[in-house]
């Protein structure tokens, strides 16, 4: 495979007697959109957690980013190295405004000076089309869609090389999902590799170049999206057995 940017080998996460992620291995190529699917509880978010160290790393196995092992590194150091993620649940800094959220993301994750970060934050605000009031109100007052926009924008403002999105389309309307689709393609064209966990299959199949399906913590299928969705094992995992 040419130019791998992420290489996960035998990643395992156990909680007591429960194995949430079981010897998962895969490689992501620089510049691609890599989709991750699976039923609820299949270990998708846990996989993101152990890759980013937030809030925990793997119990066993290794995660390489740009050829270097990152498992065991502090989570903030992983983010600063260019691996930036969003969360499935709403995440916000309720007392900070959108522009402040973007500024500190650019400073700490992107390593930008305060002035440069503020300039990039203003540019990102224009991009999400927040008006002056919304740019400066506490984030807790924003709508669900605006909070999602802000979470993605706060990752992008640090200019990451990999963007990891955990169910960004959940709770969005159809037109909002279409705009998200366009955004992901746009971001990807600018050179950012994307890992996308998504339950909205139309979005996932539309943008992903390759697809990984997890079930009960292990890899069920991997390959081109069109091939993966035709896999009987995948259909069974989602819909249940025939008997």
């Amino acid at each position: 495979m040419s130019d791998p940017i992420i290489d996960v080998r035998d990643a395992t996460k156990t909680f007591g007697g429960l194995t949430a992620v079981d010897r998962v291995s895969f490689t992501v190529t620089r510049g691609e959109i890599f989709g991750i699917a699976g039923p609820n509880g299949s270990g998708k978010s846990t996989l993101f957690n152990l890759m980013t160290g937030i809030p925990y790393g793997p119990t066993n196995g290794e995660v390489r980013f740009n050829g270097e092992r990152i498992d065991g590194r502090p989570p903030h150091a992983i983010a600063r190295s260019g691996l930036c993620r969003t969360f499935q649940k709403d995440a916000e800094f309720p007392d900070l405004s959108a522009i402040e959220t973007l500024q500190i993301s650019a400073v700490y994750s992107g390593g930008q000076s305060a002035g440069q970060a503020l300039e990039n934050a203003r540019r990102a605000i224009d991009r999400v089309q927040f008006d002056e009031a919304r740019a400066h109100m506490p984030s807790s007052e924003l709508s669900v869609y605006e909070k999602k926009q802000l979470m993605i924008a706060s990752a992008l403002v640090s200019e990451p090389s990999v963007l990891m999105l955990d169910e960004p389309a959940s709770g969005l309307t159809k037109p909002e999902i279409e705009r998200l689709d366009a955004l992901l393609v746009d971001v990807n064209k600018s050179g950012v590799t994307i890992l996308l966990i998504e339950h909205v299959l139309s979005l996932l199949l539309s943008v992903s170049e390759r697809l990984l399906v997890l079930n009960q913590g292990a890899i069920l299928a991997e390959g081109l999206p069109a091939d993966v969705v035709r896999d009987p094992a995948v259909a069974e995992a989602y819909l249940g057995g025939r008997d």
Partner: protein, 330 residues
């Protein structure tokens, strides 16, 4: 009230009023109350930096003050160091003490931070009591050298010099706090307080911010402690007592955590309120019960403190009417 009026004009008006106080309050007792209020304001507002802005439940903050008190006392009296330098050195030793306690606290959460920081305060107090040959033990230290500026003694003119020196310290401390909370570092503290995982995902080191905020909050608290020792000419282990700690905490909580001016305003109000209540027969000791009740009431009605209410009302006035404008994708 517009933000500019609230953040610039009102504080400047208050400062101008405080500069004029000695013109009207010519007795040393009233000036003494103001000096103590200024020192409490420094303690409370700096405590608020770690507790309110970063959410570190540091119950050892008064220990930094105590370290400042004894640093100035020992340097000025035992070692003969100039009291001005002794006061400044108090900030350095308090910051060093904060660094020591910050290391184990940085990775702890909630009640464990309370326990460790409180235990640290008790440890320092026991150290002071056990090293009587240096600290005076339970008796403390008295007749500590006072401040002079050239030939001018600060004991003259009904504490006029001490009044302006304490006010100057409060102003410098407040400017320092404003600079910190308005910087990206200050904003990252709120991020750490409210959403640790999200903050880490945006490159913010949780433990480093906690260590740094504890050290920064100790600098002016230690300087205030040094000033307190030189001003009262006494260093006593009472400064580590629960009474001082709970009064300072009530100033932070009543004034408003997460604001800079709230604890300062509360410190001024509560210092005079407790003093006024002390003059009422039967309330000499019970006044602290009233302060505690006020703290519970404020926390129940307005968890953000009294200044938090004003900020919320301000925001409600400025809030845009439309539910959402941005509908065209990020």
């Amino acid at each position: 009230m517009k933000p500019a009026a609230r953040n610039i004009v009102l504080p400047l008006v208050c400062l101008a009023a405080l500069l004029l106080v000695p013109v009207f309050a010519i007795d040393s007792y009233t000036r003494h109350l103001f000096i103590i209020a200024f020192l409490y304001a420094i303690i409370a507002s700096n405590w608020n930096l770690s507790l309110g802005h970063c959410g570190v439940f540091n119950f050892g903050h008064l220990t930094f003050f105590g370290v400042g008190v004894y640093t100035a006392a020992i340097l000025a009296k035992t070692l003969g160091v100039n009291p001005w330098i002794a006061i400044l050195a108090s900030g350095a030793t308090a910051a060093a003490a904060a660094f020591l306690i910050a290391a184990p606290v940085a990775r702890l959460k909630g009640i464990y931070v309370v326990l460790v920081t409180f235990a640290f305060g008790q440890l320092v107090m026991q150290l002071v009591l056990s090293q009587a040959q240096i600290t005076g033990g339970a008796e403390g230290m008295v007749r500590i050298p006072y401040l002079r500026l050239g030939d001018y003694s600060f004991l003259k003119d009904y504490k006029l010099g001490y009044y302006y020196a304490a006010l100057f310290l409060l102003v410098v401390s407040t400017l320092f706090l404003l600079a910190v909370v308005r910087s990206p570092f200050g904003k990252s503290l709120k991020a750490v307080r409210d959403a640790e995982e999200y903050a880490a995902a945006r490159g913010i080191s949780i433990s480093r911010q906690r260590v740094t905020v504890l050290v920064l909050s100790a600098i002016f608290t230690g300087i205030a402690g040094g000033f307190y020792a030189i001003y009262l000419r006494v260093a006593s282990p009472d400064v580590f007592g629960f009474g001082t700690l709970s009064l300072a905490l009530s100033m932070v909580l009543i004034g408003g955590t997460g604001t800079v001016y709230g604890p300062i305003a509360a410190a001024l109000a509560l210092t005079f309120a407790t003093e006024a209540l002390a003059g009422i027969r039967g309330l000499e000791e019970a006044r602290f019960i009233l302060i505690a009740l006020a703290m519970i009431l404020v926390l129940r009605i307005a968890p953000g403190g009294l200044l938090g209410i004003i900020e919320k009302l301000d925001f409600r006035d400025r809030k845009p009417a439309a539910p959402a404008v941005a509908r065209n994708g990020p």
